[in-house]
């Protein structure tokens, strides 16, 4: 049995700080507005949807208590609709799609809404604590470091200079600016307040004024943490071939902290017939791969190659890639591991420009990729993200019909 994506919808992204446009909108509301948009767009027979699978990383405060079921409740699809919230850190939104596809392929479910949500302005990163970073019996023998240190370790180990990563970030911004100008994000929705008034209708973080020179003036974000909290030494203990950690990443070449939500409608062929929709994409492969928790962010290459093997494909068979721009060095390393040129990767910019709402990003990238494959009339795409704790996730989609 095959699993198809019938549509994907994502919200605009607001800055994830106290000045961000979406801070007054609850995460449940963000997710709910995507569900309602999907319903309205297709005049969807919601009785056919069985489950909502949402990725969400910081499951405390108003993201706690199963936000997927909470949003299902709030969106008025009907009492039959269930919800489950999952956490594969930054890969959560894509994991939701992959789990939905697996349910469909197994025949256990027919039609599922899968995606993710994160309001980083309301629930701060790390607010959920957890043993990985806090428990000495895990963090000390694991040589566990914060992600920014891992990103700087990648740059140090593979010799990416400050200029390399800033150039990459500049390209991301310029591509996002061009895509916005060209109105390419057609499955993106604006966020409204309870009165129906517009709150935000464009990605808030994109900066048309960015230059390589302006990026060059930004202060490294993780140098202090590396020195004062000892994490440079922790990273070097596992990677002794690195003489010093060069702190090349900063706010301008790392993913922006933002709020947002995204969903995809995943189902079987029969389910599509029942609701009268034609499938847009087939899910060809879905893979994950772990790395050590110190370098943490290099799982993209092996996960992508594993997905390609599953699909019986080569990297050159993929028309476009979405590689999450968690940090510039992560993508540069991933492109070299997969063997792909930047011209086929993140062609409309990425999280450095638009932001990375942790639980939602995997689904957002899938929707962005679907939009662009359709616009260019191309066929195959690969979505992939690096993941905290030392993981990578990759999914291959192919246009149908």
């Amino acid at each position: 049995m095959e699993a198809y994506i019938y549509d994907a919808i994502r919200t605009v992204r607001g800055k994830g700080n106290k000045k961000g446009a979406l801070i007054g909108i609850t995460p449940t509301e963000l997710a709910t507005q995507t569900l309602i948009a999907l319903k309205e767009k297709h005049n969807l027979d919601t009785t056919q949807v069985e489950d909502v699978i949402l990725g969400c990383v910081g499951q405390v405060k108003d993201q706690a208590a199963n936000i997927a079921k909470t949003a299902a409740q709030h969106s008025n699809y009907g009492d039959h609709l269930c919800g489950v919230t999952l956490n594969r850190f930054c890969g959560s939104g894509l994991e939701a799609i992959n789990q939905a596809a697996a349910y469909v392929k197994s025949g256990f479910r027919e039609l599922i809404v899968a995606g993710g949500v994160e309001s980083m302005s309301r629930v701060k990163m790390g607010a959920d604590g957890g043993g990985m970073f806090m428990d000495p019996s895990i963090a000390i023998p694991g040589n566990i470091v914060p992600q920014g240190i891992s990103a700087d370790l990648i740059a140090s180990k593979y010799g990416y200079s400050r200029n390399d990563v800033d150039q990459f970030a500049y390209t991301s911004q310029m591509r996002a600016v061009a895509a916005e100008k060209d109105n390419r994000f057609k499955s993106r929705i604006a966020i409204k307040d309870i009165d129906g008034f517009k709150v935000l209708d464009k990605d808030e973080n994109v900066r048309s004024s960015t230059t390589v020179e302006s990026l060059g003036t930004l202060k490294p974000s993780f140098a202090m943490m590396g020195a004062m909290a000892g994490f440079d030494a922790v990273a070097i203990d596992r990677y002794p071939e690195v003489e010093t950690i060069e702190h090349v990443h900063h706010a301008g070449n790392s993913s922006a902290i933002v709020d947002g939500a995204a969903i995809a409608l995943v189902g079987s062929k029969a389910a599509g017939e029942a609701i009268g929709l034609k499938p847009k994409f087939k899910i060809r492969a879905a893979a994950i791969h772990g790395t050590d928790p110190t370098i943490m962010l290099t799982g993209i290459g092996p996960a992508s190659l594993k997905a390609l093997t599953q699909a019986g494909m080569k990297p050159s068979d993929i028309d476009l890639f979405e590689i999450n721009e968690a940090f510039a060095a992560v993508v540069i390393k991933a492109m070299s591991d997969i063997g792909v040129d930047h011209s086929k990767v993140n062609v409309n910019g990425g999280a450095i420009a638009m932001g990375h709402p942790l639980g939602a990003t995997g689904c957002m990238l899938t929707g962005t990729l679907m939009d662009e494959l359709e616009r260019r009339n191309l066929s195959t795409g690969l979505v992939t993200l690096c993941i905290g704790g030392g993981m990578g996730i990759a999914t291959i989609i192919e246009r149908v019909g």
Partner: protein, 715 residues
């Protein structure tokens, strides 16, 4: 209840209903936290709790110190039955808790140093008042010997001082004076004298008839916020990073302290104390704590008291000390000796040079004054003890002369002869050489029985070790004099027998040497340096080589007349090549294995990776680590077997204090046990096959391995 008087304390109940328990352990040199004491203390505390006529109890000391810590002698037997010890610890906590939760006030009237278990006893009390004296120290030194405060101190401290501050005390073994302790919240009040101390204690008892501990009080707010606050979480996460950085995973005590704080703050205090007890007992049984206590505490204390001096020799009094050569070493020796109250004659070829050496003391004293550790008065007094001269006849009245001129046998020969010409023939003459055999230098002496080596480490004012070298004809009297001198200046002596490089320089050399060989074999320089530090060496072998200078390495090899081993020839070629073809000489010259750009951190010289074809897959990390560490241990064993070392303990102390061999292993010889003697020999055998004869294992070591002996069984 009745008054009590025993060998441990006396208890007197006053007419005001307040009992005063005065700790006075008459059979111990000082009050100690011991199993026996705790048992008796709990008995009397329980009686006081049950007796309604007792309104409260003051705990104070009848000795100079309140209680400076636990009786570490007990630990050896404790580690034999850990489960029984755990049950004992859990029971102790229950009994302590019963006392502190019953609602009767206990006040610690701290009239002397209270550390470790002594301070934890004070935390069982509801209120802590300390005599405001800078002689009194408070703190938890347990982590310095590989343990954690296991009497409640680990889980209770954060409630008093906040997580961040408490972790500094616990992880670093920080010691403070009463005023700082008050500021940090560890204690509640200060008193200016004993009368005020008792009066304040009594007043508090009368004003607080039913006290409640912070950890039992739901309204108590932990300073800086509790565990589940952004501040708390950030503190724990940052501490995880810093503990890793500090320990590289080699010291379980710091890890467990953090674990107990992490686990303990999330659960009620009674259960948290159980967690603390479990991790405490785990540390009591750990190899690291045993090593740190044996070498770092017992061994060094005994050495510091002069264990090494020949028993039958009378004490050798040193009132006046002569120093020949006012360079870096001579200047340092002058400072430490004057500081110990000796009159110092500092001689160099010119009075200007001698004055330069004296200026070094002024520099140290200025720094100390700036930090508030000394005063101008004291500085002037110390400097007045150092007399500079260019005239050798000034050595006439010295009790001990230490020669600290350049490492040139001809020069040393000259100064020995001219000094002996004026020196009282019954007095001792010592050379501060770091490599040249004493027996050889003693040939210049008309009185070789009075000739000895006293090898200081640089910088003299900071390095605690002194290596005393006994030449073929050196007398017991000279040994006693050298040991007495070392003890007098507060340093730790080890006495070794003569050999080129003696013990420390010789074994330290193998560390530097193996680092170079790894580099030549293609291991990236950064990997060598980082792995050495990860194993616990304070500095990598290449960085330290830059410090001692490649030039000196070459000179030492050139001046050794013995036939050269293949590894000596190999390292000589490497050093000569680096010096002559690449101009890489030392840190001093700004160009060694590292570059030293002005005002920046040193960086490994980029040319190294090309020159030696560095490749990170050249060798696995474990082999790199073992070659660096095993090599030092194997050479130390040779020193033991050849009789250069007199004991395993001397080797352990010398390696730890002399060149920074990590204390968690116990020292360079105990390291063999740490690895496992069989494994150690098997590794060396494999290395010999692959890397050559420098890895040869002696028959003695092999037979010890075959018998499954401990290195401490060596005889």
């Amino acid at each position: 209840m009745q008054n009590i008087k025993n060998d441990l304390f006396h208890f007197e109940l006053g007419a005001d209903g307040i009992g005063i328990l005065t700790i006075d352990q008459v059979n111990n040199p000082t009050n100690l936290f011991s199993l026996e004491f705790i048992g008796e203390f709990i008995k009397v505390a329980q009686q006081a709790v049950e007796d309604d006529t007792v309104k409260g109890v003051i705990i104070t000391s009848g000795r100079t110190m309140f209680m400076p810590g636990a009786d570490l002698r007990e630990l050896k037997s404790m580690s034999k039955n850990l489960e029984q010890q755990l049950n004992g610890a859990l029971k102790m906590h229950q009994q302590f808790r019963a006392i502190e939760t019953v609602g009767k006030p206990f006040v610690a009237a701290i009239n002397g140093t209270a550390m470790g278990g002594g301070l934890e006893l004070c935390l069982v009390c509801h209120h802590r008042i300390v005599l405001n004296s800078t002689k009194i120290k408070l703190g938890f030194p347990e982590s310095k010997v590989g343990l954690l405060p296991g009497g409640g101190g680990t889980v209770k401290s954060p409630y008093l001082m906040g997580i961040q501050n408490a972790l500094i005390y616990l992880l670093q073994g920080k010691e403070v004076r009463p005023q700082q302790a008050l500021k940090d919240g560890l204690i509640n009040d200060l008193a200016e004298n004993q009368e005020e101390l008792i009066a304040k204690s009594k007043a508090w008892i009368l004003a607080n008839p039913t006290p409640i501990q912070p950890w039992d009080n739901k309204k108590h707010r932990m300073p800086g916020g509790g565990f589940w606050t952004p501040n708390g979480l950030q503190t724990i996460m940052g501490s995880v990073g810093n503990v890793s950085k500090m320990t590289h995973g080699n010291y379980p005590a710091q890890k467990y302290i953090l674990q107990v704080v992490h686990d303990g703050l999330q659960i009620p205090i009674d259960r948290a104390l159980e967690v603390e007890a479990r991790f405490f007992i785990k540390l009591v049984g750990s190899r690291e704590a045993k090593n740190m206590i044996r070498t770092g505490f017992m061994g060094m204390q005994a050495a510091k008291k002069g264990k090494a001096r020949p028993k039958d020799q009378p004490k050798y009094e040193i009132k006046k000390l002569g120093i020949l050569g006012a360079g870096m070493m001579g200047a340092g020796i002058a400072y430490v000796s004057a500081k110990a109250g000796m009159d110092v004659i500092l001689k160099d070829i010119s009075i200007e040079n001698a004055e330069k050496g004296k200026a070094y003391s002024r520099k140290i004293l200025d720094k100390a004054i700036a930090k508030g550790r000394s005063t101008e008065e004291k500085a002037v007094a110390l400097l007045s003890k150092i007399e500079t001269t260019a005239d050798v006849s000034k050595m006439a009245g010295c009790d001990l002369v230490i020669e600290a001129v350049f490492e040139d046998p001809n020069l040393k020969d000259k100064v020995t002869k001219e000094t002996e010409a004026v020196l009282d023939p019954t007095k001792i003459y010592a050379s501060n050489t770091s490599t040249i055999p004493i027996t050889l230098l003693a040939k210049s002496s008309a009185r070789p029985e009075n000739f000895i080596g006293i090898h200081f480490f640089s910088p003299v004012d900071k390095m605690p070790l002194v290596e005393i070298i006994v030449g073929e004809r050196t007398s017991k009297k000279a040994i006693a004099a050298a040991v007495d001198y070392t003890v007098a200046i507060g340093k730790i002596p080890i006495v070794v027998n003569d050999s080129r490089g003696f013990f420390t320089s010789r074994c330290f050399g193998t560390f530097v040497n193996e680092g170079m060989f790894l580099l030549e074999e293609g291991v990236p320089a950064a990997m060598i340096e980082n792995i050495a530090r990860k194993k616990g060496m304070p500095v990598g072998p290449l960085a330290v080589h830059d410090e001692v200078t490649l030039t000196l390495s070459a000179h030492v090899i050139e001046s050794d007349p013995r036939p050269k081993s293949p590894s000596t020839i190999r390292s000589y070629k490497m050093v000569k090549d680096l010096i002559e073809n690449h101009g890489r000489t030392s840190k001093k010259d700004g160009k060694g294995f590292y570059d030293y750009p002005a005002g920046e951190k040193k960086k490994l010289w980029k040319g190294l990776s090309e020159k030696y074809n560095s490749n990170m897959d050249a060798l696995d990390q474990e082999t790199v680590a073992n070659r660096i560490m095993h090599r030092q241990a194997l050479e130390s064993f040779r020193c033991l077997e050849e009789g250069v070392l007199n004991s395993v303990m001397d080797g352990d102390i010398g390696s730890v204090l002399g060149w920074g061999f990590p204390i968690y292993t116990g020292g360079a010889l105990s390291y063999i046990d740490f690895v496992g003697i069989k494994q150690f020999v098997a590794d060396c055998d494999l290395f010999r096959e692959k890397y050559g004869e420098r890895w040869m294992v002696s028959d003695k070591l092999r037979s010890m391995a075959e018998n499954g002996s401990s290195i401490h069984d060596f005889s």
